[in-house]
């Protein structure tokens, strides 16, 4: 079954430089909605670009921030944050190559899928969907594709999974931790490596605090 993958999953696998592992773990073909990544949105304002492009720009902005040169602790911290952001920006930009090489396909929504996106992102969410605030645009697009086309949804957004459960109970989905566990089970990484990757992701901002192999 093909997989539609959302911004969160792509973002964290990219920032830890493990896009290849992600692609091995997901069932091909792997698709992303244009709202998540659009290879042709380079000229648009920040608010108008695709989500991954916005993340790239955010990291690049930090990387380009001028650092005072008085050599104190604050300077060193800023310099370190700048270097980290530069690394992340470069790694996130790998997305362009993955799309060009055909490893990831950019998907345009059908009218029905777009209608569902409209429902999921409405200012006042439909109470029957089980969410308190509107779904993020990219997540909404991924849910719409997963539901309409019967694809597996790869996400780590609790709200997206809540909606998926309301719209299509028992629909197949993947989360980052589950993917890492599968990676170790399939012998693509060791259990220790899976934990390390997860830890690196949490250092980059990923909010899941339970390691794939807590006993290790």
């Amino acid at each position: 079954m093909p997989t539609v993958v959302d911004t969160v999953v792509l973002h964290y696998f990219l920032v830890v430089d493990r896009a290849a592992l992600l692609l091995e773990l997901l069932e091909a073909p792997v698709g992303v909605p244009r709202i998540v990544f659009d290879p042709d949105d380079g000229q648009a304002d920040d608010a108008m670009v695709s989500e991954l492009r916005r993340n790239i720009r955010y990291e690049q902005r930090i990387a380009d921030t001028a650092v005072p040169t008085n050599g104190d602790d604050t300077t060193r911290e800023l310099e370190s944050a700048r270097a980290t952001a530069q690394t992340r920006a470069v790694r996130l930009r790998a997305m362009d190559g993955l799309v060009t090489d055909g490893a990831i396909e950019v998907i345009d929504l059908t009218e029905d899928e777009l209608d569902l996106v409209g429902r999921l992102t409405a200012r006042e969410p439909d109470p029957s969907l089980g969410i308190l605030v509107a779904l993020d645009d990219g997540e909404a697009a991924c849910v719409a594709i997963a539901v309409a086309r019967g694809w597996t949804l790869a996400t780590d957004d609790g709200d997206a999974l809540r909606v998926l459960d309301h719209l299509a109970p028992d629909h197949p989905y993947d989360r980052i931790r589950r993917l890492l566990v599968r990676g170790a089970t399939d012998g693509l990484v060791t259990e220790a490596e899976a934990n390390e990757i997860h830890e690196e992701m949490t250092r980059a901002g990923f909010w899941d605090r339970v390691r794939p192999f807590p006993e290790r």
């Binding site: 969160v8 709202i35 000229q43 648009a44 108008m48 955010y58 605030v133 779904l135 709200d159 997206a160």
Partner: protein, 401 residues
């Protein structure tokens, strides 16, 4: 109505030209014409971008829902000023303000969270306050009510927070001859709320909070909202005078000048810096106030305007205040939201009622940034326990807790 017609109508309702839309989306102007003519269609990402730009739901552009903002309160304010008077960025900011308040109210209700919003001014009476003398008197009254004496107000945002007044900062445009510097709105569920134009200089933003506070405290009994244009409207003059007097009371300034031996008129810009630092206002605000109080001669005022205050203050031994720099709107990001709302948002994330990506979309920041905000824990972090050391110091020096 087809998508093409909806796009055209939504753009006109929002007040954008095709050129402006093209620039925002990074496409050519003819492309926008093609979309609106129906010969080509925007892709999904562009359609979502257009919905954001026009302040309407995606469904309103792509589906059969009626094409309206869906924000009766914002529409009421737009009608009040006449839509043509407010530039597109002003309309978008105003829409965002009302949207934010509606969401805040809904989220608070779902989370059983008390906003503690002020719903009635402890000051407003039925008589109208609109003269300069009224304003000065009322500023003194509010200062007395808040036990501020003649000293500095400090952080006026935090003061509003304590009073139960919600303050949001958003971009409303840079041209203050056409757009608003801020707004006051009595939201039915959140209570009193203030909007501040983030496109203004940092010092002017602080002044605007105090200005809108005047509307909240003294005009809210008659007006559900006030949009602050640069007009000679007596209400606006009242709020300006109130803000100046509230932030830097004339009598307080006079006493400081006397005690510091500045003389009847200030002739040294270092004295302006000292007053500015004491009252925690911007250099420009202090300068304007001192001129209003006739404590600076016109020629000195003109001379002091040429000073670079941050550099000059540093040469006098004052650490630069980050708020004094010309910060672009981007710098504010999460800080433009009221602390009480951020507390609610963090609570909703921690209780797994709102996901990090949904919250990031809600406040318009990246997932990384929101995740960092959500992860910040009040205890048990790696931060050096400075507070514990400080408490030990209090104990060691015999200051009882």
């Amino acid at each position: 109505m087809g998508v093409a017609e909806r796009l055209s109508e939504a753009r006109e309702l929002a007040g954008y030209s095709q050129e402006q839309v093209a620039a925002a989306l990074g496409v050519s102007r003819p492309m926008v014409t093609y979309w609106e003519g129906g010969s080509r269609s925007p892709n999904d990402r562009q359609l979502v971008g257009l919905s954001r730009l026009y302040g309407v739901d995606v469904a309103a552009l792509s589906g059969d829902d009626p094409l309206e903002r869906g924000q009766p309160a914002a529409d009421m304010m737009f009608r009040g000023v006449g839509e043509e008077q407010l530039p597109p960025e002003g309309r978008r900011g105003l829409g965002e303000f009302v949207d934010f308040l509606d969401t805040y109210a809904r989220l608070a209700a779902q989370m059983d969270f008390d906003i503690h919003g002020m719903r009635q001014s402890p000051f407003a009476k039925s008589s109208s306050f609109d003269t300069a003398d009224d304003a000065r008197r009322k500023a003194e009254e509010v200062r007395a009510h808040l036990r501020l004496g003649l000293g500095p107000v400090g952080d006026v945002d935090r003061l509003c927070d304590l009073l139960g007044i919600t303050v949001l900062r958003t971009q409303l445009g840079t041209d203050l001859s056409t757009t608003i510097s801020g707004a006051f709105f009595k939201h039915p569920k959140v209570g009193f709320a203030i909007l501040v134009n983030l496109d203004m200089t940092p010092g002017r933003r602080g002044f605007t909070v105090a200005h809108e506070l005047a509307h909240a405290l003294f005009h809210s009994d008659k007006e559900p909202y006030v949009l602050s244009f640069a007009t000679k409207d007596p209400r606006e003059r009242f709020a300006d005078t109130f803000a100046g007097e509230f932030l830097m009371p004339t009598e307080g300034v006079r006493r400081v000048m006397e005690e510091q031996g500045f003389g009847p008129k200030i002739t040294d810009p270092a004295d302006v810096i000292q007053l500015q630092r004491f009252y925690k206002v911007s250099y420009a605000t202090a300068l304007v106030r001192l001129r209003q109080a006739r404590s600076i001669k016109q020629e000195d005022f003109d001379r002091f305007k040429q000073i670079r205050p941050v550099i000059y203050a540093r040469s006098l031994g004052y650490e630069p205040d980050p708020e004094e720099f010309e910060q672009d709107a981007d710098h504010w990001r999460l800080r433009r939201y009221p602390p009480r709302f951020l507390r609610l948002l963090r609570l909703a994330i921690h209780k797994d009622r709102v996901s990090v990506p949904s919250a990031a979309k809600l406040v318009g920041v990246s997932i990384d940034e929101l995740a960092e905000f959500a992860a910040a824990a009040p205890v048990g972090t790696d931060e050096a326990p400075v507070s514990t050391r400080e408490l030990d110091e209090f104990e060691a020096t015999g200051v009882p807790a």
